[in-house]
Symmetry: none
Subunit: 233 residues, 2 copies
């Protein structure tokens, strides 16, 4: 491996599970891939470690004593330090509810037990890819890239330099394609909590985006919010 390649620090992963066997198994595979791993055996401990370790990803068992995964997730999400930390649940296939409730509580993914190392690793890779500053989506319908380093958007081969607010707005919609973002959420994320702006401000920005990168489908859901539509009809 030549030296002139930028050395990216490997992602940090926090693993929270009460079963030592599971911990050992997963930790082994993760470290083999080069990830930096720390572990905790319950939600309370996990919370503590998370705050100092500031991992890129937290793997959280749903069923745990003391504080279960969902509770822990909710607590984790309250911590601004962990804003950009991904959370994935480990859950037995049977507990279907937890999968659902979990995603709602702010998790980014879930992984079902029994855990197959291959699957786990590829899922983790995919998750971490998503979180990197730059994001790309390419399918037969759409080609869109958001590059934070260069602060540009590449859409259908054309390059755009968007103003800050437009850029952030697009990036937000893009962060979870297909998901609806309420006006509230958009204001909170792009503008900030305290700032108060008029009713039409978001619309105008949406309009400018639509004008500039018309290829991408920004869909309005009246009374709910906006979303990026990637499975164009």
């Amino acid at each position: 491996m030549p030296d002139n390649i930028e050395k990216k620090p490997m992602p940090k992963i926090l693993l929270v599970d009460d079963e030592p066997d599971i911990i050992e198994l997963i930790q082994y595979h993760l470290e083999k891939e080069g990830y930096l791993v720390k572990t905790a055996k319950n939600g309370v401990e996990g919370l503590k470690v998370a705050k100092s370790f500031v991992p890129d990803l937290i793997l959280l068992d749903v069923m745990m004593p003391e504080m279960d995964g969902i509770e822990a997730c909710i607590e984790l999400r309250k911590d601004n330090t962990l804003n950009s930390t991904l959370i994935a649940f480990l859950t037995a296939r049977a507990e279907d509810y937890s999968h659902v409730a979990g995603l709602d509580s702010g998790a980014d993914d879930y992984i079902t037990k029994p855990i197959k190392p291959r699957v786990l690793l590829s899922k983790i890779k995919a998750l971490l890819r998503r979180s990197t500053v730059n994001q790309i989506i390419k399918n037969d319908k759409v080609s869109l890239e958001i590059n934070r380093d260069k602060y540009i958007v590449i859409c259908e081969g054309k390059e755009f330099t968007l103003p800050k607010k437009e850029f952030e707005l697009l990036a937000l919609l893009f962060s979870k394609p297909g998901n609806v973002f309420t006006r509230e959420a958009i204001l909170a994320k792009v503008w900030g909590d305290d700032i108060v702006v008029g009713d039409r401000t978001i619309d105008v920005h949406i309009r400018k985006l639509r004008e500039k990168i018309g290829d991408v489908n920004i869909k309005t859901i009246k009374g709910v919010g906006y979303k990026l539509n990637l499975n164009v009809n």
Copy 2:
């Protein structure tokens, strides 16, 4: 500067306990969180209030004069209007039996005394969250998914983007498949309390749903309400 703050109706909670101190304590904490709270000091009264208030959650003390919590719970469960209302027992830690019997009588959770406000609030939050989550049903007859994040309904593989009211209505029926929802309950949940609409409004929305996702069986029960029929004949 216009106040464009979205008004989300806060969940309604009915608190039934015979001890004024407990009532006061809990009520204080609940209202601080923004919940709409009503109280009753025994099962009989609780039943009466529940029917008109149509709360999202009922906190029910197990030990009460007149009518104890379990009896009350059984009665509450008979009322179709309260179909989608959650019920949680408040119980002293010792009375272990009540936990078992309680869940059997149709309760959704139990909370042990002495009550720690923090724990109570997080439990309540979790309970209420469960009811507004993404849901999937798949069996040999029907395949239906309600995805709140993407605000879509997937029925037999086909994707639908429903308007808000239709979406909420379907989601409500879907929250307890097979159960009947009275018109009052539907109005309370989907439209909200203050809003007054004509007699035919619900019908029209039901019709639109039937039109769009004909595969799913929305059954009318005359004089009672509507239900989602998933065990198609």
